[in-house]
Amino acid sequence: MTPIALMGALEIGLIFALVALGVLISFRILDFPDLTADGSFPLGGAVAATLIAGGHDPWLACGFGALAGAVSGLVTAWLHVRLNILQLLASILVMIALYSINLRIMGAPNMPLIGSPTVFAPFIGEALENSWLVQPAVLAVIIVAAKIALDLFFASQTGLAMRATGANPRMARAQGVATERMVLAGMALSNALIALAGALYVQTQGGADVSMGVGTIVVGLAAVIIGETLLPSRKLWVITLATIIGALLYRLLIAVALNADFIGLQAQDLNLITALLVGGALVLPQLKAKLRRKGGKAS
């Protein structure tokens, strides 16, 4: 694999690290199986692309993209908390609604951003010769900042209350935690991160596409699962680190698999590989436990 291909894999891996941190909050911390991601990721992209194309500052566009994602997470949580709709179903409803909304926002199925300013542009030379290095570097700074902010938040009084809400809501209420509000806030935070990833993604890809969200949730989940399989821990700062490593590793594996001509894989096989990978990562811990039990019997 060429260095440029490697950095390309890293770049997408970093973007999906943000998605994975969002998925970590919904699936793991709040115990809320949330598929909104497939809609909130392109939502962030659509909002950012539209604003950038309209001549607005790209950082501002990212901010509004994230904000839109927060609102979508809020709606999913509200459907569940207030209207008692099943979590999975609530998120699917929001996800498909967002498909229409994203089309409305962009006014077309796709929106090119060639030559428009991006958050990366100020660091890139005129001939675009260093963009393959600059983009991952800027993204790495954003991911590290997001990780540290999340670690600090989950060590705070409110953050701890949010973790308790996911782990034992009845106990959390008995300690005075407004669990419904925590679910609303946590889901907003989760989808804000995912939409921010979408907003950055369109700026690395040179445009937004309404179908760019397909499979986002599976990739995010894959990263979370790979991370916790490789680096199992209960410490939150380790868990967020593992999640980021999981996302990077996942994209590297995919890149290697696609680059190895002898395997004969093509880009359209991506979703199949992902499904196999997630399936494998889910079975691995059980397999390990089984082997350990067998080993114990033999000795």
Partner: protein
């Protein structure tokens, strides 16, 4: 002080499995009083405690804690007034969080939560001192996951957690039922100590007549969602377990009579 007046609660109303659990229950507990609660399975003891904590709302009747009407106040808003320890050791603590994180959650019970650090150095010291009182060696395991503790250790920590902040009433629902006799005795002794030291108003549900008479100042028996026996003072002091058992049997006998009436 806690005042419950004419509480009614029916589960699954209007269905074939309709179950009237609280049927006009009234009970007043003065400040500083420690009441033990007995009654057969399904008498409504847990339901009463859940109504007091706000885990469920009653259909009718009123609940006051001190002079505040809390009948329609959700559980999390009552948390500053109500402390509780659950029967199931898993229920009262947060799996996956460490001992100190669990205690930090309880330390903020009924207080507003901001974005400051949940556990600061002085709190860690306080938690360590409190845990040392248990003499279980837990003071050196602050960062351990709480699910590594045994059921008895978890109940002991739950009790400590319930006493980290003042409360108007402490609810204990068979909190020693899941423990072996020796550990149960230890947790009970700890309960007495914490209630006395903090002069707590408390309700303790138990299935042991012995415990019901040996602990606290007053004993009430629930039956079919009402208080059918209420003893305190000298009357209670002279009471033997056998007397209580006899009354317990009598109420159960009545229940059978009721059923016979229904069938006949």
């Amino acid at each position: 002080m806690m005042r419950a007046e004419q509480l009614f609660k029916t589960f699954n109303p209007g269905t074939p499995i309709e179950n009237p659990v609280l049927r006009g229950l009234s009970l007043t507990i003065e400040s500083g009083q420690f009441v033990t609660v007995i009654g057969s399975n399904g008498a409504g003891k847990s339901t009463l405690l859940n109504a007091i904590s706000g885990d469920l709302f009653v259909d009718s009747g009123s609940l006051h804690i001190d002079e505040q009407d809390v009948t329609r106040v959700p559980a999390w808003q009552r948390a500053g007034m109500v402390a509780r320890v659950f029967q199931d050791p898993m229920a009262g603590t947060c799996e996956g969080l460490s001992i100190e994180e669990n205690m930090a959650l309880a330390w903020h019970r009924g207080r507003s939560r901001g974005f400051g650090r949940a556990i600061r150095a002085e709190q860690r010291e306080l938690f360590r001192d409190k845990l040392a009182m248990l003499k279980l060696g837990l003071e050196n395991r602050l960062a351990d996951r709480i699910d590594l503790l045994s059921g008895g250790q978890r109940q002991a920590v739950s009790l400590l957690m319930a006493s980290l902040q003042p409360s108007r009433i402490l609810l204990l629902d068979e909190h020693t039922a899941a423990l072996d006799p020796k550990t149960a005795a230890f947790v009970l002794e700890l309960t007495d100590r914490i209630v006395q030291e903090n002069k707590l108003t408390a309700m303790m549900v138990t299935h042991s007549m012995r415990q019901a008479l040996d602990h606290g100042h007053r004993t009430v028996m629930l039956h079919q969602g009402r208080v059918v026996l209420d003893v305190s003072g000298d009357e209670r002091k002279q009471m033997q377990v056998s007397d209580l058992l006899a009354m317990f049997e009598k109420t159960r006998g009545e229940q059978i009579d009721d059923d016979a009436l229904l069938l006949g």
